[in-house]
């Protein structure tokens, strides 16, 4: 069964440093997403990406965050200057429009980001 992959599984960084989290979505999916889960809290939507541009973003997704699909397979989340409160598990997901024959968002295993 196809799956979403994410690298690295764990990233440790110093406050103020830039980090890039990488994801390989499922190949025939059209929508890509980033979510985050702060330890002990709920999963929160960050951003969705469709047709090579941001479709929607939450209030969390401020100017420190950016997403990119640099090639035909990878989907990245960049945090320009990390803060302590950015420490969380970051999940990538991909899917197709709900109601289509190949809908459903599939989630990757996550990248645990620790900001020191």
């Amino acid at each position: 069964e196809p799956e979403v992959t994410q690298t690295p599984s764990h990233q440790v960084t110093q406050m103020g440093q830039e980090v890039i989290l990488r994801c390989v979505p499922i190949s025939n999916h059209l929508y890509f997403y980033w979510y985050r889960q702060i330890l002990g809290q709920k999963v929160e939507f960050l951003v969705s990406f469709y047709n090579n541009e941001i479709s929607e973003k939450s209030e969390i997704f401020d100017d420190q965050f950016s997403v990119e699909r640099p090639d035909g397979s990878n989907f990245t989340l960049k945090i320009r200057s990390t803060k302590l409160e950015d420490s969380a598990m970051y999940f990538c997901a991909s899917g197709n429009p709900l109601g289509s024959s190949t809908d459903t968002q599939y989630f990757g295993p996550g990248t645990r980001l620790t900001v020191l």
Binding site: V4, K42, V43, E44, S48, A93, G108
Partner: protein, 114 residues
């Protein structure tokens, strides 16, 4: 705006007993409804979803959920739980338009007791 409420943060239940995990939602637009499961140190796995049609939805691992529009609820049930069902369960909604972003509840920790 959408919000999801899972009133029970923890639910302990004995093995082979039935369980119901409650989920209520509010939304200004029509939504789709989901239940995801998260096993320790793993990502989110879809259990079931309601898009349209029959309000009783069957998912994987013997779980089912019933959509009740008048009560804005989507409770998850299983008639007989197994030790392996111990996990965190998240209810989520998605607007029926746009990119179908998911909005999650705070989760219910199901612990199955041998």
């Amino acid at each position: 705006a959408q919000s999801v409420t899972q009133l029970d943060s923890q639910v302990p239940v004995f093995e082979e007993a039935p369980v119901e995990l409650r989920c209520n939602y509010s939304s200004s637009v029509s939504v789709y409804l989901f239940w995801y499961v998260q096993y320790p140190n793993q990502g989110l796995q879809l259990l079931l979803k309601y898009l349209s049609g029959s309000t009783l939805v069957k998912g994987i691992n013997g779980f089912e959920a019933e959509f009740n529009k008048s009560q804005t609820s989507f409770h998850l049930r299983k008639p007989s739980v197994h030790i392996s069902d111990t996990a965190e369960y998240f209810c989520a909604v998605s607007p029926q338009t746009g990119a179908n972003n998911l909005f999650f509840g705070t989760g219910t920790r199901l612990t199955v007791i041998p």
